[in-house]
């Protein structure tokens, strides 16, 4: 199933250090993190029915500062994936405006960080 190796050269980080590319990496990495997290999330929530006492014990554990920090990072991942995704849906289906791209990226980043801070500083 692997593509055969072609006699080509590939780009390195010097071709990738711009805003649009960083947005792509954030979107992809946050997507991977969320996809890996979800099964665990569903499992924990399902314990509410099958083992409520264990769920309460688990929720006690989540009050640990390290766990709260990890939760905040998850919220950041979710908010970043959302904001970046909404930007893409806008670009693809509402229309492209080249002069708005940098602004759109800044807004997306701002929204994501704001959500994470709202969550993390309240926890």
């Amino acid at each position: 199933m692997r593509a055969r190796a072609l006699p080509i050269r590939r780009n390195d980080v010097r071709a990738r250090g711009h805003a649009g590319y960083v947005a792509f990496v954030v979107h992809r990495v946050s997507g991977i993190v969320l996809a890996l997290f979800l099964p665990a999330h569903f499992f924990v929530l399902s314990r509410a029915l099958s083992a409520p006492a264990a769920l309460d014990g688990f929720l006690e554990w989540t009050r640990e500062p390290a766990v709260k920090f990890a939760e905040t990072l998850l919220v950041l991942a979710l908010a970043a994936h959302l904001a970046g995704g909404v930007r893409l849906l806008f670009v693809e289906f509402v229309g492209w405006r080249a002069e708005w791209q940098k602004t759109a990226l800044a807004i997306a980043a701002g929204v994501a960080v704001a959500c994470a801070l709202l969550f993390g500083l309240s926890a």
């Binding site: 996809a35 999330h41 569903f42 929530l45 029915l49 099958s50 709202l118």
Partner: protein, 125 residues
């Protein structure tokens, strides 16, 4: 002037439609998730700011049929969106593609769907 090279073979047309429907489902589920995630983020931030206990959250979830309906929609959209996203990553970064990959990801979709619906049922029963 009809050019014979304009004709597209049936099997490649099937492949095109499969590719396009994957794209439409991915973007469609993304739009649904955009709304769901805004609500989810808002409820989580609310819950954390008001220091709601697990029991309090479950009580609120069971108080209205809107919550299980909402989270069911959320789970269905995720079960479509996440495997399609992973398919692209596995193709581009691991170089793995083909029917076996598609079948495995369809299984992942079913696992997410099943796990998610069971979690919703657990919290709202």
């Amino acid at each position: 002037m009809i050019d014979a090279t304009l004709a597209v073979r049936d099997e490649s047309l099937r492949a095109v439609r499969y590719a396009v429907w994957r794209f439409v489902l991915q973007r469609g589920s993304a739009a649904v998730l955009a709304l769901c995630v805004v609500v989810h983020l808002a409820t989580m931030i609310y819950a954390v700011r008001h220091a709601l206990t697990a029991g309090a959250i479950v009580a609120r979830m069971q108080a209205s049929v809107a919550w299980p309906a909402f989270y069911t929609l959320f789970v269905v959209a995720v079960a479509i969106h996440a495997p399609l996203g992973l398919r692209t990553i596995v193709d581009e970064w691991l170089g793995l593609r083909g029917p076996v990959v598609d079948v495995l990801l369809a299984c992942a979709a079913l696992v997410l769907l099943g796990g998610g619906l069971y979690a919703v049922a657990s919290l709202t029963a």
